[in-house]
Symmetry: C2
Subunit: 244 residues, 2 copies
C-alpha cells in the first residue's frame, strides 16, 4: 500500500470543533505523530501506533513522518488549532526541502479551527475587520523583526492576534510588546486575553491597553488587540466592518 | 422557550470541513438566515424555516435574526468560512449596538474554517509565519486605508491573505493592489490564487509577483502573498518558521 502523510489540525481543544475530514483521517491512520498533549487527544485502537514527542523537536517529528510514509504507512501529524498557523505544516515542508529523497511523498494538509478564531468567536467578533496574526516567540526569529511587525501592524490600524505571548523562558517578551503598543496606540484600545479556548478551563477577559499587565497572558493564552474602532456591546467585543 | 441566536461558520464549501458543533446548531434551528448560496447549503426539514437574502443586506439580515430570537426562535445565521472574518458576526453586533432593546439576546458565535486557511492548506503552508488578512473591498472603507495597510504589511514582511480581491463593480482595485505590491516587494515574491477552495471547482495557481495579472482573481478567489522567505518545495508553497 502506498504511504501517505496527512498534516491535520485538531482545533483548539473541543472535540465539537474537529472537522469530519480530520476525524476520518485519524480513523484511517496507522501512525499518529505529534507533541505529547495533542497525540493524547487521539484514541488508541488496534492497528494504530501513537508517536508522542516533546516540544521543540518539530524537525525530528517531521522526518519520522516522512520516513514512515515512505515505508507505506498512513501517517497523520497532528497539530493543535490549524497546522498551517505556527504549527507543524511548515516544519514538514522544511524537512521535505532538506531531504529531497522524500519529494514524491503524498502530502495533504487538513485545516483546523485556529486558536485566534475560536478566541474571537468566544469574545464576539474582534477580528471582524483587517487583522494580523503574530507569533511573539523569538525562538526562531530575532526580536527586532517582532518589534517591527508590531509597529507596522499598529500603524496600519490592524487588529492583531498574538500566539505564544509568554513563556517561562521569555517572561519579558510580552512586557516589551505592551510597551510598544503603548507607544503606538491609545490607552483605551481594547485587549482580550483568551485562555484555554473551547476547553473546560476557558477564560475570556477584556481590558484596555492601559489596564493590561504582562501576567494576564501565559502560553495557553491567545491575545487579541482590537483596532482603533473596536468596541464593546453588552458582554461582547467587536470590530465593525466599516472604518470607524 | 427562550430564543437564541447562533452565528455559525459553514467553512469554505466542503461538508467535510463543517464542524460538529455547527452541524448540531443547524439540526436544532427553527430559522436559518443568510446569503442565498449559504442558506442553500442547509437541508430543508419540517420545523425549519429558511430565510435566504441577497448580498449587501447584512444589517437587515442581522435585525431579522435578533427579532426572531426575541420572539423565541432558535435562530442560526450562516456565513461561509468563519463568521468572524469579513462575515456576519460583526454585522450582528453592529445591529445589536444600534438596537439596545435586543441587548439580552443569547448570542453565540461558532467558528468555521475560513477561506484563507483552507487555501493555505491546499497550497502547502504559505501562512506558516506571521501574516495579515485584508479585505480588498472598498464598499465599507476608503481605498486609502487599504493602500496604507498593504504598505505596512509589506514593510513588516508579513505574508498576506486577500479576501474579495475583485468584483465586477470594482475591476480596478486588484490592479492597484498589484501595483502597490510591485513598489514594495521584489518581483520574485510568490502569489497563490486559490479559487473555489474545497469545492469541485477548486483551482490553485502560484506565480511570481512579476507574472501576476489582475484577471487571475475573481470574487471566488482568495489570494495569498508570501513573505520574502516563502518558497516552493515540490508542488507545494510554504513559508518557513524561521526568518529567512
Amino acid at each position: 500500500m502506498t504511504g501517505t502523510l496527512t498534516i491535520a489540525g485538531l482545533g483548539p481543544g473541543s472535540e465539537a470543533m474537529v472537522t469530519p475530514e480530520v476525524s476520518q483521517a485519524l480513523a484511517e491512520a496507522t501512525d499518529v505523530i505529534g507533541y505529547i498533549p495533542y497525540v493524547a487527544r487521539v484514541a488508541e485502537r488496534p492497528g494504530l501506533t501513537l508517536h508522542p514527542s516533546d516540544n521543540r523537536v518539530e524537525l525530528d517529528r517531521a522526518l519520522l513522518a516522512l520516513d514512515l510514509a515512505a515505508k507505506g504507512a498512513q501517517v497523520v501529524v497532528v497539530s493543535s488549532g490549524d497546522p498551517g498557523v505556527f504549527a507543524m505544516a511548515s516544519a514538514v515542508f522544511e524537512a521535505l526541502e532538506a531531504n529531497p529523497e522524500y519529494t514524491d511523498t503524498d502530502i495533504r494538509v487538513l485545516p483546523g479551527i485556529t486558536a485566534m478564531l475560536a478566541a474571537a468567536a468566544a469574545a464576539g467578533a474582534p477580528l471582524g475587520h483587517d487583522f494580523c496574526a503574530i507569533n511573539l516567540s523569538d525562538n526562531l526569529k530575532p526580536w527586532e523583526m517582532i518589534e517591527n511587525r508590531l509597529r507596522m501592524a499598529a500603524r496600519g490600524d490592524f487588529a492583531m492576534a498574538f500566539y505564544n505571548p509568554r513563556s517561562k523562558s521569555r517572561p519579558e517578551g510580552f512586557e516589551k510588546t505592551l510597551s510598544i503598543l503603548r507607544e503606538e496606540c491609545e490607552g483605551t484600545r481594547l485587549i482580550t486575553f483568551a485562555r484555554a479556548v473551547s476547553t473546560p478551563d476557558q477564560a475570556i477577559h477584556t481590558v484596555t491597553l492601559s489596564e493590561a499587565t504582562p501576567d494576564m497572558a501565559d502560553m495557553r493564552t491567545v491575545v487579541i488587540v482590537g483596532n482603533s474602532a473596536t468596541r464593546r456591546v453588552g458582554r461582547y467585543v467587536y470590530t465593525p466592518r466599516s472604518a470607524s
